[in-house]
């Protein structure tokens, strides 16, 4: 699976917030058809890496390329039109707009040719959203909001889906549902997924490959299974975790 040119390639990325350096030269590859996860503790720089891929903030050194094209210094809205979609950290759905309107916002840049079809697919994946299509986003439960955030990202017909902590603050049963949906999207639609997670156990079980980040540097990499069996990973991220 990991042959040929990667879909997303991050090389030597250094990102700063003012004077504070958040990423110290990160290398990472995501190949077409893969689920790749990035795990790490709070403040390790996982979300910063994802945001750097999206262009806010932009990297000071290094490069991000997608489909062989350098996107490091493109504005965010252009990057998000090239086939990358993101479900941002904290879900960030539009609370006063209805579920349907939220989904329309997701499909806005892709135009409305495939809207009906994409909507059907989104409702198939998350039937709860269909029931609640006229409800305001803000009145949904946390799990439904996360489903909406993912569905909204899918409306732009991406090749690569970036997910930032989809399990944040959700009950285990909902997390399982959401991870099932991600697996389903990867298997039947061939969607490539890059998943940033703190919930290391679930993420590594789901992913083909994983990276471990500590203080802005990648310390370990391997297949999901390999990482799950590594003592360091167990000690640092899986102690008392959800087994």
């Amino acid at each position: 699976m990991t042959t040929g040119q990667p879909l997303l390639s991050v090389r030597g990325i250094k990102t700063f917030y003012g004077k504070i350096q958040a990423l110290h030269g990160v290398d990472l590859d995501v190949y077409e058809g893969e689920i790749v996860t990035l795990i790490g503790a709070n403040g390790a720089g996982k979300s910063t890496l994802m945001m750097t891929v999206c262009g806010t903030p932009q990297a000071r050194n290094g490069s991000v390329s997608y489909c062989g094209e350098d996107i490091t210094y493109k504005p965010t809205y252009e990057i998000m039109r090239t086939g990358i979609a993101q479900s941002p950290e904290g879900r960030r759905i539009f609370p006063r707009m209805t579920v349907l309107e939220n989904l329309m916002m997701g499909g806005m840049v892709a135009g409305n040719e495939h809207f009906e079809e994409d909507l059907r697919r989104a409702f198939e994946l998350f039937p709860r959203l269909k029931e609640r299509q006229q409800q305001r986003g803000g009145t949904l439960s946390g799990g439904e909001q996360q489903m909406l955030a993912i569905a909204r990202a899918l409306m732009s017909r991406p090749r690569l889906l970036l997910l930032d902590e989809p399990s944040l603050g959700l009950a285990p049963i909902i997390v399982a549902q959401i991870f099932d949906a991600i697996r389903e999207l990867n298997r039947s639609d061939g969607l490539t997924v890059f998943l940033v997670e703190q919930n290391a156990y679930h993420a590594l079980k789901l992913a083909h490959r994983g990276y471990v980040m500590v203080n802005g540097t990648i310390t370990m990499t391997g297949t999901g299974k390999e990482l799950l069996s590594r003592e360091e990973v167990k000690a640092a991220y899986l102690e008392g975790g959800a087994h």
């Binding site: 999206c54 806010t56 504005p75 965010t76 809205y77 252009e78 990057i79 998000m80 039109r81 979609a85 993101q86 941002p88 960030r92 759905i93 539009f94 609370p95 006063r96 707009m97 209805t98 349907l100 309107e101 329309m104 916002m105 997701g106 806005m108 840049v109 299509q133 006229q134 409800q135 305001r136 986003g137 803000g138 009145t139 949904l140 439960s141 946390g142 909001q145 909204r152 990202a153 732009s156």
Partner: protein, 444 residues
Amino acid sequence: MQARQKDSLLVASVKDSLGGAIITFALACVMIGLRVDVASGRGAELFLEHRWLAVAAAVVIVFAGRFAMNVFFWKREDPPSLNLSGFLPKGGLSTGTSSVLKYALLGLAVVLPFALMFWLGARGSRQYIDLAILVLTYVMLGWGLNIVVGLAGLLDLGYVAFYAVGAYSYALLAHYFGFSFWICLPLAGILAAFWGIILGFPVLRLRGDYLAIVTLAFGEIIRVVLLNWYQFTGGPDGLSGIPRPSFFGLEFTRGEGGFASFFGLDYSSIHRIIFLYYLIFAMALFTNFVTMRLRRMPIGRAWEALREDEIACRALGINTTTTKLTAFALGAMFAGFAGSFFATRQGFISPESFTFLESAIILAIVVLGGLGSQIGVVIAAIVMIGGFEFFREFEEYRMLVFGMIMVVIMVWKPRGLISSRTPSVALSKNAKGISADLVQEGHG
């Protein structure tokens, strides 16, 4: 209303009693406050007596009595008047009644000048039509600002600057080049939109309080420039002799070739007033039409999404720069139109008319009406501008009464008079607006 929280007995009683007091006030104003009497000294002449003290007493008695009944006698936590919503059509008060209200107001606005003429005669109706023109000007300004504040969520405290740009554009173009109103109207809109973009660029990265301060400063800059550029704008003396608009080339003048003689009517100055009324009515409707259309288009939805969450917008590939600039430009354009109307109506303008207070009033109309609600703006403009005139009786207490009404509205309906937001798209038939009261701001 389903999710109404149970208030404590005391709070519920206060609310219920306030409701009673308001109803009493409305009834007592007419039934007790005004008294027609025959003056004995001046021959058998009828005159009107005001008894506001008695009105106040009635309101206080009803409030106190109802409160006492609630607390000591009924002891119910859901006093009867709070359950009135059960009698209203399903789907909430706001969506059901506001569409009826919309057409009622529209119909009223269409026939208003002629009804007034019929009722009060040309002389008597003039001041009321003038007031209606003023209200409509503020409705239009409110709708224009609603794009910026209500839809795009950009708090603009210097909106009057664009109103000034529109007014001065027309006045100066007419003064220096002799352009007519109909040529200047679009030009004024374009110039104001241009200034909207000029303001938009430096404030692109700002939000909330910071944006408010910069727009406030911008409004003052425009006013101060107009005040001090004496050679060009006339400074504090203002510009006078601004030409009046014509009706398809017909001037509203006495004699041959005027509007009255062309249609074979007797000349009356009321013709121009009525024409101005329908002009601002049409302009306001145009503003509303454009806004409502845009709301259903991608750009309008992008504005609303921007108000909700800017970061999410960027993550969805929306160009927030152009989205913000179009909101500023369009909002400013409508203010520019309204400004040139203001100039042609007054015939005289000076920087005096474009102070911060104007911005504050327009913003208050938008906020009281319920951010983003078009019909709410109309009601708020009628209450604010009409009420301002209505309470002339109170003289020096006018501002006090006015302020109290605003406080009461905000306590009673914290999200404005019409707070529900109608979805811009619906697939199923049973779509209905959900009251914003049920949704926490910005959170789930």
